[in-house]
């Protein structure tokens, strides 16, 4: 209990982008997320770590209501973005997802050209008034995704023809193109080789300037490298949340310590 209070104190000083209160998630009879409370700050990279099956992806998917697409999934509690309850009846999950972008574990470019992959979101949401504006958005997004130089000469080649690392950066650029405020990433590097991983990590650090980034990762080194805040999940509970440096060097909870030193996981 003591620890929790300390966590809250440190977080209270920042500017909250996302606030979760008493969030519970059930898949049928499985209780996947148990009473999670957390405040995620703006213009910060927050890492979710924890052993497999502890509910990191589930909680991440609550933030853009992707769990709505799973029939048996039930979410209770409140999640606020900029103080607004995203599970409120008035909120359209489709609109919400334009504001809260998501990048998945396996790169999943659409079987379309690179250009059309990026233009997909802007077209759906009517962000461009004409072709020139759309071109501009595509270029800007590809630059933000740190992949412009590699693909600028073959914008009309299929996105599926890129390498794994390029595909993942394309997917990040695609998410960025709809101008989200929050970017959720579920193990974005787990299908990538070390060089591609380094490129994506560099990119994440760039993105922090404009967005609030939440990243799920299996690699503690990665969490330590890219994040300012870290949350440790275990068996559906949020065990510990705090400054990344503090979590890795001086964790408060014995479970966190065991995980970090490799005793559970």
């Amino acid at each position: 209990m003591n620890d929790m209070r300390q966590v809250e104190r440190t977080v209270d000083t920042g500017q909250h982008k996302i606030t979760a209160k008493n969030v519970q998630v059930h898949y049928g009879d499985t209780h996947a997320i148990k009473d999670v409370n957390v405040n995620i700050e703006d213009k910060t990279v927050t890492a979710f770590i924890g052993p497999s099956g502890c509910g990191k992806s589930t909680f991440l998917r609550c933030i853009n209501r992707m769990n709505d697409t799973i029939d048996i999934c039930r979410v209770t509690g409140d999640i606020l973005i900029d103080g607004e309850d995203i599970y409120d009846k008035k909120v359209d999950p489709v609109q919400l997802r334009a504001k809260v972008g998501m990048v998945f574990q396996k790169p999943n470019p659409f079987p379309k050209s690179i250009y059309d992959n990026i233009a997909y979101g802007p077209r759906i949401h009517g962000l461009a008034r004409n072709k020139a504006e759309l071109d501009e958005i595509v270029e800007k997004s590809l630059r933000r995704g740190a992949i412009w130089d590699e693909v600028k000469d073959r914008l009309h080649a299929p996105g599926t023809g890129l390498s794994g690392g390029q595909q993942q950066r394309l997917c990040i650029a695609r998410a960025v193109a709809t101008e989200p405020e929050v970017l959720l990433m579920d193990e974005p590097c787990s299908a990538l080789d070390p060089i591609a991983t380094a490129q994506v990590e560099e990119l994440i650090d760039e993105l922090r300037r404009n967005y609030s980034v939440v990243i799920v990762t299996h690699s503690m080194q990665q969490a330590a490298r890219v994040s300012q805040k870290t949350a440790f999940f275990h068996l559906g509970n949020l065990v510990e949340y705090g400054e990344t440096g503090q979590i890795f060097t001086n964790p408060n909870d014995p479970r966190t310590e065991s995980y970090i030193t490799g005793r559970i996981g």
Binding site: N64, M66, T69, D71, V94, Q95, L96, R97, A98, K99, G101, M102, V103, F104, K106, N108, P109, F110, P111, K112, Y120, G121, I124, H125, T160, C171, R174, A175, T178
Partner: protein, 493 residues
């Protein structure tokens, strides 16, 4: 001796061989099965195999070769002068065969005595009349060479059958002796029987392949025969289909184009009905329906595929046709007079389309389901709605597969017969009006071969040319469709 008796005799010898071989092996090992290399049943089976395989082998080869050999020897009896103008040797030989079997049947039914059947007839008119009285199909008075050839044909067949029976029985007895002599304890009967089983399986597989080959070859040869009798340029380019059955050859116009047009038109109408409905049903089932609905609706839809096409034909003739007439016909709901009768392109095409719905929907459903969930998640994650996701991500990804499914459905439509016969009529016509009766290649194949047809005339042989045309068309479509479906599959593996 009828063939059935011969088969029964061989099987009886084989059964005896099985029993003897089994007990021989056992007694050779002193009644102790452990002293044998294989279980006793294998020794029995070995003997049975040694009897059945050569006996039936000889029988099959003989039956295949005999007619061919006999026909060659009989053909020499018929002088060139007996081949009438405008006919050919093949036609005369067909008459010889018909007469020969007519004589055999007439003797068997007691209408003709054996002596009359075998002697040279004094009065050909009377001989012909006898055959007619016996209910045999004889069209005109038989000529002397034909009767002589037919009689020779029968004599040779009878002798051949006798020789074959003797040879087969001899072979099975030899097999029996050989098999029993093999039944020693150290003989590896099990391995031999295993080989036999393997050969049997290979045989089954080859029969399937050889039959296909046989069908194709018979199509090819008969098609070649057809083009010898009828000019290919007329077949391919004539705009008229007007076979005549009275005069042989000459006066018929056998242009394939009106039939191909009918096939094409009706198939297009069918696809216009089937593709949107089937595709939308597939999209609903795979993307929107709950598990419960899907589990219940999908099999229900597939029941449609199990309805025999003749039932669809009845539906077209008795329900859809009159219904369409009451809308588009004289005094109908629309007040237009477009459709004269129930049989029309639109009737057959519409009903065929209904038949194809489950075909399209089931294949498309599988293909849409094969689009990875990650693709949909990617789209939802960008704030796309369900229908945007389906239209812009799922369908484009599934498109090659769906095209393949449509092509497969098209080749079904092209090959469909019963619905056309009952729903579209029999008039070969080159017309754009969908309310008119038209007919297709398949329906014409049926009508060219029903009733008394002379298989040596171009009017009958054209059926093979039509069949060949159809075969090449659907084969081509299937190859393209499978190629597309396969390349699509590789995309996600």
């Amino acid at each position: 001796m009828p063939l059935a008796w011969l088969v029964i005799i061989v099987l009886a010898i084989a059964t005896a061989g099985y029993v003897v071989g089994r007990s021989r092996a056992l007694s050779a090992a002193g009644g102790n099965a452990r002293g044998l290399h294989s279980l006793p049943v294998y020794y029995g089976a070995n003997v049975a195999l040694k009897i059945i395989v050569p006996a039936f082998g000889i029988m099959i080869l003989w039956l295949l070769a005999q007619p061919w050999v006999i026909e060659r020897s009989v053909a020499t009896i018929i002088p060139d002068s007996a081949v009438a103008e405008g006919s050919n040797r093949g036609l005369v030989m067909a008459e010889v065969r018909r007469t020969a079997s007519g004589i055999v049947n007439a003797v068997a039914s007691g209408e003709m005595s054996r002596d009359v059947a075998e002697e040279q007839p004094g009065d050909l008119e009377e001989f012909t009349q006898r055959l007619k009285d016996a209910g045999q199909v004889v069209t005109s008075t038989l000529s002397a060479p034909v009767v002589a050839a037919a009689q020779r044909y029968n004599v040779l067949s009878a002798t051949g059958a006798l020789y074959m029976a003797g040879l087969v029985v001899l072979a099975s007895l030899a097999g029996l002796v050989f098999g029993i002599s093999e039944s020693r304890p150290d003989f590896r009967a099990r391995n031999v029987v295993e080989q036999g089983v393997r050969a049997l399986l290979i045989g089954a597989a080859s029969i399937a392949i050889l039959t296909t080959l046989g069908i194709v070859l018979s199509l090819v040869f008969n098609t070649i025969e057809f083009f010898r009798l009828y000019p290919a340029s007329h077949y391919f380019f004539s705009l008229e289909w007007a076979p005549s059955f009275s005069g042989r050859g000459g006066s018929s116009e056998l242009g394939v184009l009106p039939l191909l047009w009918g096939t094409f038109y009706i198939s297009i109408v069918a696809l216009i009905v089937a593709v949107p409905i089937g595709l939308f049903a597939a999209i609903y089932l795979s993307e929107y329906a709950s598990h419960r609905t899907r589990a219940f609706a999908k099999p229900l839809l597939e029941v449609l595929a199990g309805i025999p096409t003749i039932v669809y034909g009845l539906f077209a003739l008795l329900t859809v046709g009159p219904l369409l007439v009451s809308v588009f016909g004289d005094g109908g709901l629309l007040g237009v007079d477009w459709q004269g009768g129930g049989r029309a392109v639109i009737t057959a095409g519409g009903v065929m389309g209904i038949m194809l719905i489950p075909f399209v929907s089931s294949l498309s459903d599988d293909i849409i389901n094969a689009v990875p969930q990650a693709m949909r998640d990617g789209s939802y994650g960008l704030g796309a709605t369900k229908s945007e996701t389906i239209r812009q991500v799922v369908l484009p990804a599934a498109l090659p597969g769906i095209v393949g499914a449509v092509l497969l459905a098209a080749s079904r439509a092209i090959g469909e017969t019963m619905i056309v016969v009952l729903g579209a009529g029999a008039a070969a016509r080159l017309s754009l009006n969908p309310f008119e009766a038209m007919t297709t290649v398949t329906a014409k194949i049926v009508s060219q071969l029903t009733g008394d047809s002379d298989f040596a005339s171009p009017e009958a042989l054209v059926a093979f040319a039509l069949g060949m045309t159809l075969f090449i068309l659907t084969l081509g479509l299937n190859v393209v469709a499978l190629y597309i479906v396969r390349t699509y599959r590789e995309q996600y593996d």
